[in-house]
Amino acid sequence: MEKTIVKIDNLVKRYGDLIALDHFSLEIKEGEVFGLLGPNGSGKTTAINCLLSLLSFDKGSIKIFGREMTPVNYDIKKEIGVIMQNVAVFEELTVYENIDYFCGLYISDKAERKRCVEEAITFTGLEDFLKFRPKKLSGGLLRRLNIACGIAHKPKLIILDEPTVAVDPQSRNKILEGIIDLNKKGTTVIYTSHYMEEVEQICSHIAIIDKGKKIAEGTKDELKRMIKNTETINIEVLALTSDILAEISALPHVYNTEYDERRLIVYCSGGRHNLIRVLDLLQKKDIGFGRVWSELPTLNDVFLEVTGKALRDKED
Amino acid sequence: MQVFKTFMKVLRRKLLPTLVYISLFIAISAAMTKYAAYENFTEVKLNICIFDEDATPESGQLAEFIGENHNIIPPVSDRDMLIDRLYYEDIDFAFIIKKGYSEKLAAGETDGLFESLDVHKSYSSSLMEQFLNEYITAVNSYKAGGAPLDEAIAMAREALSEKTEVSIAADENDHGYSMDFSEYFTYMPYILLSVMVSTLSPVLMSMNRKDIRSRTNCSSIKNTSYTVEIFLGSIIFVITVWLIFFITGIFLCGGLYQGRAWTAVLNSFIFAIISAAIAILLSLFDISINALNLINQMISLGMSFFCGIFVRQSLLGEGVLRAARFLPAYWYIKANDMLCGRELYSASQVTVCLLIEAAFAAAIIMPALLIRKIKRSGTAEM
């Protein structure tokens, strides 16, 4: 059986009256890329900060590598790499010095450190910028430096808190590939984000958190199975009357329809050959149609369904 | 008026330094104006500390006589304290009437009757030593003239009490602006500069930040009305600050300004404009708040030391003053000194000072406008 790397048990964290984490539990196994998803202000960063023992919490326990995590448990800290959403590098130090500095807080041996720093540089592709000060770096490069500083000491567990905010697609891909690479080498990764595609792309296991509660957890497929929708059918069709629409809604497995004079959207839950049945009906009524496509649910659908569609603008 | 309103909102958020500076200034001037009161006598009165070791009627008479013209400070027993007070010229002269003074005086011995305790070899000590010598000479001479000791002392006192008529070239008539009160206006430029640069500049900087500027430029507001509204906001700020000083001044001086004090008020208003102009000019450079802070201190402290705000102009070296002419505060202080009678008053020269200050204001505003214009066209090309 795989080893449990992180075990959060019934964590409760309050900010005054506000409950930031409400009996939050989590278990992360070795070798996973664990995605922590949630809207802004849902408690992702709070959970990470508690995990790192930066924040005090009201109830619950946190174990990393099977041991209780405390602020003075330096042996555990040694095995963790942290990349926070805010870039944490010294403006006064060059790229190389920054990586060397942070690496040096974990590794005392000079030769070993040098090797680690150089690997981190190659890994993040910062070779051409070693003598630059962070101010001179573009957003993407700065994020890469931020990551290099967090992973240079080859931790067994890497925690990334929204590392790709405001990064161009090239840099983002580079970062994501890097994370997959690290994972292949055996590193366990905790990844928070609200970019569904990213999470879908790299995470093997996902938990969705909202208002401090874990509301869903599982693999991608497990999550998708959790929601009602299994298929969304799109048909470009003009002049649909309301009784035809009613007939479509009455078809088996269809639980909702939308029509806006140009496009028909049919939401289905379970069943097979749903598309054919809809098209069959249209053919019978002699209604012509344009493009037709069918979509399987994405993580985005899962996310929106479980967290609700209302706009979130609270600060994270 | 959208720009104006926003300006005021931003201003409100950045008002803290202004409040700090103004309240401190007012508190300190309230304390200082009172303190300065005893420095200021038409006739120089020295603070003199007498250690009477002799403790005879004769030595008592001497002390009493000195007390007629000067302030007698009770003996300071702590030697360190005495040094401190002499060092900072809180006590101008300290001396011991040595034991055996009256006997020696009666015997006609003149030397070594007193011992002065010096930190500085200063005017005050020289004046007092001269006085002591003169007193002894007079007593001795009267004795030589045949008078008994007590009579000789009385006569010497009388002879030394006769004071020469002194006229003062600078007219000391009541012109409504005492030297005492002028202190308030003396320190004002430092505060005006600090307030303007620490508050107005950041506000203007955030209003003129490149991305905000670009966004404003894209909007339908006319460039001129934008400038006018910003200008209006700045002017209101400047005038408000100045009015606070104006009104506080009325309280400190204990009644509405009179006579020359009005000119001093005008002077301070012109300087408020100069300070605002400097703040506007600085806001046009692309610098961090930290750097601005630094420049603020450099300018305000530098000007204060060079132009006679913290240290009187009459105390500064020739070279310094010659260089200070290129700074507006020099003319401000010069006018202020003339107005309060510290320097020879001449209405025409005061006017010249005020005009030069106004010219400084214009000379600072001009390049500011120019830089603004250049920067604007720069953004337009972007």
Binding site: - | D90, Y123, A144, F305, V311, S314, G317, V320
Partner: protein, 370 residues
């Protein structure tokens, strides 16, 4: 690990441009200001030198002339005989301190109140006194005239002067003491940076360092020691600049001056560290409060310290810049070093207390909120 952290902490402080500005360039600029402004004030103003006077003779007055000659010889005044118009010009231009009109009646015109005017007045008073005495004697007891004249013309030196101190008595030097104290206080900025970089509730770097494998005690102490070292360097630069470039005599033993300055700098760093780890303080507020404390110790107005000593003596005991400038002053003025030692010990004690408070605060390991 500690040394590694220390090394980079020092590099960071030295490379930080703001700190270099405030701690090295600003004091150099201000020191130069002081030097230029006050370079000769003490010699010109406080220290006695000959009083220049213009003498306008409306009538021939030989006795007065000879009297003036004697005083001139003794170096009290320097007289220039001239006509009235020119004399007024000289007075307006500040070339002379007063005009003595010598005629039937002796009168004096001065440009304002001042000690120089008083000196001239007392000279004339003395002359009048002698004149009166002689005429009186001639009138009342002509046989004693000779004795009186002899008594009058006798050299009296009734006063022996004892200098109270061997130190530098230039009372503008405290401006430089206060400048040194100011640089020490700007150590607060370094202390602030140390606090910011160590504490997870202040900065992202603080988070990263708190999550790292370095012990928090090592992290904080290396930050503080780096701050002390950098500040010590700045203090050394400042004192060296004042003593050797501006050539200001700070008085006292140079080694002790350096020591005091460095100790003061460490106090500044500790103060900044302690205050900034307890509260979030904006840069502007911090520098403004530093300047206010410096103002209270006399950075802007020299005798401020005396005013404070009079009105609130306790404040001078705890105001850090006042303590620092005071200990430098004591070092220069008192031959006995006990008061200097007293001041330095209180600096050291305050520093230690601040460090302990700061460390206790920062050693809190978990935060209620970030």
């Amino acid at each position: 690990m500690f040394l590694h952290d220390l090394k980079y902490n020092i590099i960071c402080i030295i490379r930080s441009r703001d700190l270099i500005f405030w701690l090295i360039l600003f004091p150099i600029a201000l020191g130069t200001c002081f030097k230029v402004a006050f370079g000769s004030i003490y010699k010109n103003v406080t220290e006695f030198h000959t009083v220049p006077a213009a003498i306008v003779e409306t009538e021939e007055n030989a006795p007065f002339r000879s009297f003036i000659q004697t005083v001139e010889d003794s170096g009290v005044i320097s007289a220039e005989y001239t006509d009235e118009e020119y004399a007024v010009e000289l007075l307006k231009a500040g070339k002379v301190s007063g005009i003595i009109y010598s005629g039937e009646e002796l009168t004096l015109t001065v440009s304002g109140t001042g000690i120089a005017g008083s000196t001239l007045r007392s000279l004339i008073d003395n002359y009048k006194m002698r004149e009166k005495m002689i005429t009186d004697t001639v009138k009342n007891a002509p046989e004693k005239t000779e004795a009186v004249i002899k008594a009058l013309s006798e050299e009296t030196s009734a006063c022996i002067s004892t200098p109270l101190t061997k130190g530098n008595t230039d009372n503008f030097t405290p401006y430089f003491y206060n400048l040194i104290a100011m640089v020490a206080m700007y150590g607060c900025l370094i202390g602030r940076q140390t606090a910011m970089n160590s504490l997870p509730n202040y900065s992202a770097i603080g988070i990263r360092r708190s999550c790292s494998a370095i012990r928090s005690s090592a992290e904080i102490s290396s930050g503080l020691i780096a701050g002390f070292a950098a500040e010590a360097l700045c203090m050394t630069v400042c004192v060296t600049f004042i003593e050797f470039v501006l050539k200001v005599d700070l008085g006292g033993d140079l080694l002790l001056i350096y020591l005091t300055a460095i100790l003061g700098g460490i106090l500044g760093v500790a103060l900044g560290f302690c205050v900034c780890s307890s509260f979030r303080i904006a840069d502007g507020i911090l520098t403004a409060s530093i300047l206010l404390l410096c103002f209270m110790s006399g950075l802007m107005i020299n005798n401020m310290k005396m005013i404070v000593a009079e009105k609130a003596p306790w404040f001078n005991m705890i105001n850090p810049p006042a303590l620092i400038s005071d200990s430098l002053y004591c070092l220069s003025i008192y031959s006995d070093l006990s008061r200097y030692a007293e001041k330095t010990i209180s600096i050291a004690v305050i520093t230690a207390v601040l460090c302990i408070i700061g460390v206790v605060i920062t050693r809190r390991r978990r935060y209620a909120s970030l």
